[in-house]
Amino acid sequence: MRCPPPAGARGYEPCCERLHFGSPAYILNERSVNIRGAEGCGLNIIEVIMMATPQTGLSAVKEDPGTTAAADDAAEAGQARFDQILADDSRIEPRDWMPEKYRKSLVRQIGQHAHSEIIGMQPEANWITRAPSLKRKSILMAKVQDEAGHGLYLYSAAESLGTTRDAMTDQLIEGKARYSSIFNYPAVTWADMGAIGWLVDGAAIVNQVPLCRASYGPYGRAMVRICKEESFHQRQGFEILMELANGTQAQKQMAQEAVDRWYAPSLMMFGPPDGDSPNSQQSMQWNIKRFTNDELRQRFVDMLAEQVKTLGLTLPDEDLKWNEERGHYDFGELDWNEFKEVLAGRGPCNSQRMERRREAHEEGAWVREAAAAYARKMAARNAEQTVGAAS
């Protein structure tokens, strides 16, 4: 098993998040603690939202398949219209004709994205009971609830392409679907909550802001909603680190060690280098992706290199330095073998994450069944009353 450097894991084994694991934090209701969400979102996000042509659109409605000849004609006309819509940088909507590859690629990408949000609840949910104050617990609950929401927005978007949420959930639980490798790293100290918010949510924002303009309407709209919420996530993380960095020597060290742990994995969230990313090209031609992995990674490093100064901490990268000529920060090589290992299921927490997800799904089965049974019963009762009233 490959684990990240155990530098900050004082007294903890990697993967020990569950040492003091409380009650499953899957059904959370922010209302009970009355939180007002942070409003702020960066200017760049607003700009992108303005460009995102937020027309409303409905989920997939089934259509009758035509005869073969008619279907061929329709496909040809459909392809032409599809190409034109992309050329105009407009949006594809659920009932539009689209190439099968475009549909499949979107289902895969949106599905993976949704799974990442859902699995991503775990490292932080595991810390809710141990957060150092009631306020911090409330904030963490609100964040975890947001991540659940993000997962649901995205499942809905994928569902409009004809793959049901249940099917996607099954794929995840059966280990047939991927999620972001970042969530297979353990969060071993409270400072990790800060580092996750600042670095992991931060990387997610850089990745997601351009996706607000993805050519598939429902995906773009889900991303607009998500991006608005992410900036609260990043800021609360930054604030946790800020407080620790200005605390005692031990607290500052804890913050530094958490940053050391999460820095490289967060840079890998943008995916493999452009040369090793065969899907990127196609995805950019389809206007799903707007920037390459390396472009986004560079943008993120440039932001971090400045922000870390405010924290009074450092980034664990000896090669990090400003390059006047490029107008960007240079940074060191990442360990892509580690990335591949984690993605292949051999990260520090893969099996724990999957096991927890399965447990939650199976143990929640009776709730889903009971709700369905109740709905059936009420529907039958209503029908009876209607019949009774009519006769």
Binding site: E30, S59, G149, Y153, R165, A372, A379
Partner: protein
């Protein structure tokens, strides 16, 4: 189906002897479209969709999913399969009657230019 830990689960479902229960065990919840009125005086606008077993739960889920930050003062949920939409392939022809009828717009009428309050 309510059995304890599923550690070591290989993806297969436990055998259930109660046929009736089994019939509904994996029944998917219907899909609902959610419309949110962001403030008084504005229309409800489509916000997204969700799954729920019935209308009451759909409204509650919609509240939790789409109005966590005061995004709405009212929520509608509509069964997705109750919505009838225009045919997307007939787009051009279907909305053609509006095209070429500039006279439906105030800007078509030039003679009144410069006349106040008109």
């Amino acid at each position: 189906m309510t059995g304890g830990s599923t550690t070591g689960d290989d993806g297969t479902r436990p055998v259930d002897t109660e046929a009736e229960e089994d019939q509904y065990a994996n029944e998917p919840w219907p899909l609902w479209e959610v419309f949110v009125r962001s403030s008084r005086g504005l229309s409800h606008v489509h916000a997204g969709s969700l799954h729920a077993p019935d209308a009451g739960m759909a409204v509650r889920n919609a509240r939790d999913l789409y109005t966590r930050r005061n995004e709405g003062v009212s929520v509608w949920v509509v069964p997705a399969n109750a919505i009838t939409a225009s045919d997307p392939d007939a787009k051009g022809a279907y909305f053609e009657s509006a095209a070429g009828k500039d006279y439906r717009h105030a800007t078509y009428y030039k003679k009144s230019e410069g006349v106040k309050h008109l």
